[in-house]
């Protein structure tokens, strides 16, 4: 591990990893440290939406335009983790049918390609839509995989020479001559790193990081709960054509559908509740009546770090800010806060601009021009290979030859793929392996495959128990219907191994 870098980035979400990539591409010596696994914060707990911006056209036009522009950029540079499904905005029978008259012009003003279509056509594209929908508008929404996006940024940053570390929390940081010294926890020991510039991209924890240097940031945490359903219930993103509210959006995401979201004052570490899940489903029924019969497999809550000392909720702006703390007396500390997943690249660009200026160097940003990860569109002839190729794109070639013994049936992950990622230095627990392969993210929620993951990682019953306990918080709010049956069956199965998969806490 290096002991001196030019830029130390704290926080490994989309923004932090995006900054690492940008700065590395501009030739800076970069280190990024993330306390948990990459995308542990809001990046790993959002809706997976690549916004067309239409949702904010009426209420937050600045954010809407940012999303529209950046969305188009990402569709060029991040094809490897984007499904360009397109989106629909629909008014339910109980909604205000006239909202569309404000919506369409607002989209136009924000530069968003919105096309009103006949409700009959809408129901042909999406047969499961409620028969009573009153208006429908096509927009260029897309679905994005935020885990793989962050991991893609990490790979790219490393290729350009950056040091990127997960499971490396910053314990303390202080100012020294010419910069800063951070003490990082890693592998049970502490390491010191000196940096000229420190970038605080810690999202919901940005306030804590800033506080380490005696600075405060006006952040408020807005909690958003989402529910994951088995299967693709819709072909495109389906949004509610009304002023932004709870349960407005359904996003098809690989083998699942994500319904969200809520907005309430919260804190990092908040959990999704059954009441929130019930409310989301009740709202979505107006647009997709069949959602009552869908199988909810998981619920999670993300902590949106919103800028501004005011209240959280839908009124708060979704735009971002790059803060140069020279004005707070800490020159060399730069924070970036607020924003949306869709605008991460722009946030990274602005932040990197500020950093390069501090370093006294000029280098232009090329992140909008180069693909983050090469995208391989050539289909494969084998189901498992195709599933793997769709996950890992061009790097699939590095995996073969590999064991084709099934690892996770729900997500078509082979043992070979598990073993490959298990050997990465980034992977130290089952959760890390899960995020890189999607094993355990299917409808049985790691009923059988967790054992295979433990096996691939040379881990045993204790790690398995810990992993299950960590996942239980996302299961509890959806303990009804088919998933309750599934969890009851898992209790039977895991009992044979002496594991109680509902036992939380280390």
């Amino acid at each position: 591990m290096r002991s001196r870098v030019e830029a130390l980035i704290i926080g490994g979400g989309a923004t932090g990893t995006g900054i690492a990539r940008d700065l590395a591409m501009r030739g800076a010596e970069v280190m990024l440290v993330e306390a948990g696994d990459f995308a542990a914060g809001a990046t790993g707990a959002n809706h997976g939406m690549l916004h067309s911006g239409a949702r904010y056209a009426v209420t937050d036009p600045v954010s809407a335009r940012e999303c529209a522009e950046e969305g188009a950029v990402l569709k060029r540079i991040a094809r490897f983790c984007i499904e360009d499904t397109g989106g629909l905005f629909v008014s339910a029978s109980r909604d205000d049918a006239e909202y569309v008259d404000r919506f369409l012009p607002a989209c136009g003003r924000a530069g968003i390609r919105a096309e009103e279509i006949d409700t009959r056509e809408a129901r042909e594209i999406e047969p499961c839509l409620d028969a009573g929908i009153k208006a429908a508008v096509k927009v260029p929404d897309a679905s994005i995989d935020p885990f793989f996006l962050a991991l893609g940024n990490v790979s790219s940053a490393r290729r350009h020479g950056a040091t990127v570390l997960n499971h490396s929390p910053v314990r303390r940081i202080r100012r020294i001559d010419g910069g800063f010294e951070a003490v990082i926890g890693r592998g049970g020991r502490e390491r010191r790193v000196a940096a000229d510039v420190v970038i605080n991209a810690a999202g919901a924890w940005a306030g804590e990081v800033a506080a380490m240097l005696g600075v405060s940031i006006p952040l408020c945490i807005d909690k958003g709960t989402l529910v994951v359903f088995n299967g693709r219930l819709v072909n495109r993103l389906v949004n509610r054509l009304r002023p932004p509210s709870d349960g407005d959006i359904l996003v098809p995401h690989r083998t699942a559908t994500i319904l969200g979201t809520t907005s309430s004052a919260g804190a990092a570490g908040d959990r999704a509740t059954s009441a929130e899940v019930e409310r989301l489903i009740a709202e979505a029924e107006a647009v997709l009546p069949g959602i009552k019969e869908a199988r909810a497999v998981r619920a999670y809550a993300g902590a949106r770090p919103l800028l501004g000392g005011g209240s959280a909720g839908r009124g708060a702006s979704r735009t971002f800010q790059v803060i140069d703390h020279a004005c707070d007396g800490v020159d060399g500390l730069i924070s970036v806060a607020g924003g949306k997943l869709t605008t991460f690249r722009l946030m990274a660009e602005r932040t990197s601009d500020a950093v390069m200026e501090k370093l006294g160097r000029a280098a232009s940003c090329r992140t909008a021009d180069e693909e983050i990860e090469p995208f391989d569109d050539a289909p494969s002839s084998d189901f498992d290979l195709e599933a793997m190729r769709y996950r890992h794109g061009a790097s699939t070639a590095a995996l073969s030859p590999f064991s084709t013994v099934p690892g996770c049936g729900c997500e078509a992950v082979t043992r070979g793929e598990m073993e490959h990622y298990a050997s990465s230095p980034d992977v130290s627990d089952i959760g890390d392996l899960m995020r890189r392969t999607r094993a355990g993210m299917g409808y049985c929620q790691a009923g059988l495959c967790a054992v295979n993951m433990a096996s691939a990682m040379d881990q045993g019953a204790r790690e398995l128990q810990r992993y299950y306990g960590e996942r239980w918080r996302g299961v509890e709010p959806v303990l009804f219907g088919e998933q309750l049956r599934q969890e009851m069956f898992k209790a039977h199965l895991l009992k044979a191994y002496g594991i109680d998969h509902t036992e939380e806490g280390r």
Partner: protein, 367 residues
Amino acid sequence: MSLPDVDADVLVAGGGAAGLTAATRLALDGRSVTVISSATPATALSTGRMLLDPEQLEAVEWASFFLAQFRRQGAYYVMSKRPVNALTNFGTAMKQSLTSPLFDWTTRDRDVAVVGLVGNGDLDPDLVSREIGRSHRVRPRPYWFSPSFSPELDRDRFAEELGSVLMNDVAESTIVLPPLPQRSPYDLLAELRKRSGKRIVEAATPLSWPGRRFQALMEGTAARLGVTVLKDRRLMSLDIDGREAAGALLSSGGRTQKARFNALVLATGGVPSGGLDVEGRNVIDSLRLFKTSSAPSPGVASHRLRSALSTGIATRKGKAVTLQGGSLRNVVVAGSLARGMSYPLGRGLGDVVVHAWKAALAVEEVL
């Protein structure tokens, strides 16, 4: 046109360990018993091992009868006085009371090898070996064997090849293997023992051969006692006359069949078997005839899941209680269908068979 009626002293709905135990005991008492079964019971998905209390009269009764019957079908089990550790396919220990020369595991074994079969996902020898090593001083040696023949399709050549490898290429004297398909209960394991000269231990594995084997032994026992087992039949509805079940309607393919009986045993299992279902947050009787209630008991940390797992058909003096609140005098509930009986809360198959053994007595009292 209609199917002939099913006519029996006792109709048993459910063909898993509970149903077959009750049916067998009743047949032993001279009753005419018909068992109906619709899908794979949880018994066939289990590890096939059980914990029995040697101080409990019913457990001893069950074991002495059934183990003798299993022996006649070629499977040698003994009920041990103290629980013995079975080795699971994950390398963890599982307490159980049934031992056999063919799947004994004792922690005293020092000279142990764990052999995995390439292509068989049930057992990873590296994982098992490490896991055993974590809790015991001995750390067994892991081996991988790549069979040239399928144990299911080419049994003899498979046994010959593996037997020879175990004898010549594996130094250790105790070998742990994943479950293998067997035609008669232990023919393949016994053969490997003979050919290799080593002690062979089969890992206790759920969702695999051991459960199916146990299920087959139970079915074989019931058949030997003259129990009629009708597969692919489902209990659709009951004909209730006051406080008694006067008859039932069974499904057979696309048609229905009437059943007449003096007593009915409900042994259709819990949620995994399909005897209980989930509606919203509630666990209900799949027939939608009987009341369910829970008997919370320790077993899993989550209160909600514990409550769901402990839910089963409510009974009054062992007799099923209907949704209207009355109990049916000739309907007895046996096994995981009954409240409080679900596995994670109890000891598993052992509790189930003992419960069913006792339930058969309750049926006798009705008749």
